[in-house]
Amino acid sequence: MKEVFREKQMKNKKSLNLILLGISLAIAVILLLIFPDKQTVVTRTAWNFLVEMLQILPAVMVLMGLFAIFVPNKLIVKYLGSSSGIKGVLLALLIGALPTGPLYVAFPMASALLKKGARISNIIIFLSAWACIKIPQELMELQFLGAYFMALRLSLTILFVIAMGAIIEKIMLWSKN
């Protein structure tokens, strides 16, 4: 039942995107007909970005597909649930960063891990890594925003995410007592 619902939601989202695409294309055509002098800039910019994305996205998708099939979720839960200390933190970061699916896939896993007794801080780190330090994302960032930007944002994010894990764990444990 739930799966069917989710599938339906996905379909709705897909058609919404298509409708939005149609509307924005129509707006683009009208705007460019009214302002013909903008045609070159707009089409050339759009085309350059499209070409650049098509050079990189298929490869990124292939990497994600390979991971989805060769590294099953069960394996991830098994490794994360049984590690602690610095090793636990590193593993949470690393596993979160693997090129796996969207964030909502990670919530049930996080919930299962919590029930198994994994540390709250590690779960937060795992979720945050899953959300924003994923390898495919870093590759796109490297491509479009450059190495400095990517490396700096990555290291700051890792630092702050670890701190956030500790803070949330403190608050959760404190409010329980």
């Binding site: 897909k14 995107n17 298509l18 695409l21 924005s24 294309l25 683009a28 705007l31 302002f35 800039v41 707009v42 089409t43 910019t45 759009a46 350059n48 970005f49 499209l50 650049e52 994305m53 050079q55 990189i56 996205l57 490869a59 990124v60 998708m61 292939v62 990497l63 994600m64 597909g65 390979l66 099939i69 060769f70 964030l103 909502y104 919530f107 049930p108 996080a110 919930s111 937060i124 945050s128 959300a131 924003c132 994302q137 590759l139 796109m140 491509q143 479009f144 925003l145 450059g146 930007f149 700096l152 944002r153 700051l156 994010t157 702050f160 995410v161 956030m164 949330i168 608050i171 959760m172």
Partner: protein, 173 residues
């Protein structure tokens, strides 16, 4: 803006990153193929499906980038989210990143186009960080699985962190 050479106008610059990622994917594919043909085929089907799934959003962002660069004047952008922009400019774009539901892979070219059209690094860092870390759309699922307190704490603190990271980056770069 030399670091953004890969997003330059005119001529197709195939960057080293592009070459690196494609070789990486090919090598991984080759190894997977030797290990297990059937699983590799399944992986490719998943890859193709997710590519088709992201395509409408990708084209949407491309059209948006084109119109944006063509029609929104540079000085307007830099006034709101450029180097002269104050805290509130950053706050607004961070909020925008938190509520919008753009596939994170596509947020990077979007960020590059924003920088090219006058936005500051701080603004783009804030936008990308909130966009990836915070999920308003997925919040109900997160609350259901992890509880209200933890979900709200994670999203709320992520917002503060994103803005802090952005300002540190602006100060360093």
């Amino acid at each position: 803006m030399h670091i953004y050479a890969s997003a330059q106008y005119g001529g197709y610059v195939v960057s080293t990153t592009t070459v690196f990622i494609n070789i990486l994917a090919l090598v991984a594919l080759f190894i997977a193929f030797i290990k297990d043909r059937k699983k590799t085929k399944q992986s490719l089907i998943i890859a193709l499906k997710s590519f088709i799934k992201i395509l409408p959003a990708l084209l949407l962002v491309i059209v948006f980038i084109g119109l944006f660069m063509g029609f929104v004047p540079r000085d307007q952008i830099s006034r709101i989210i450029g180097n002269q922009a104050g805290f509130w400019g950053i706050f607004i774009i961070a909020l925008f990143g938190a509520i919008s539901h753009i596939p994170s892979l596509i947020s990077f070219p979007l960020g590059a186009s924003l920088i090219e059209s006058g936005a500051s690094l701080t603004a783009v860092a804030a936008f990308i960080t909130t966009l990836t870390m915070i999920g308003i759309i997925t919040l109900p699922v997160e609350i259901k699985e992890l509880g209200k307190k933890m979900a709200l704490l994670r999203n709320g603190l992520s917002f503060l962190i994103a803005i802090t990271i952005a300002f540190i980056m602006g100060a360093i770069l």
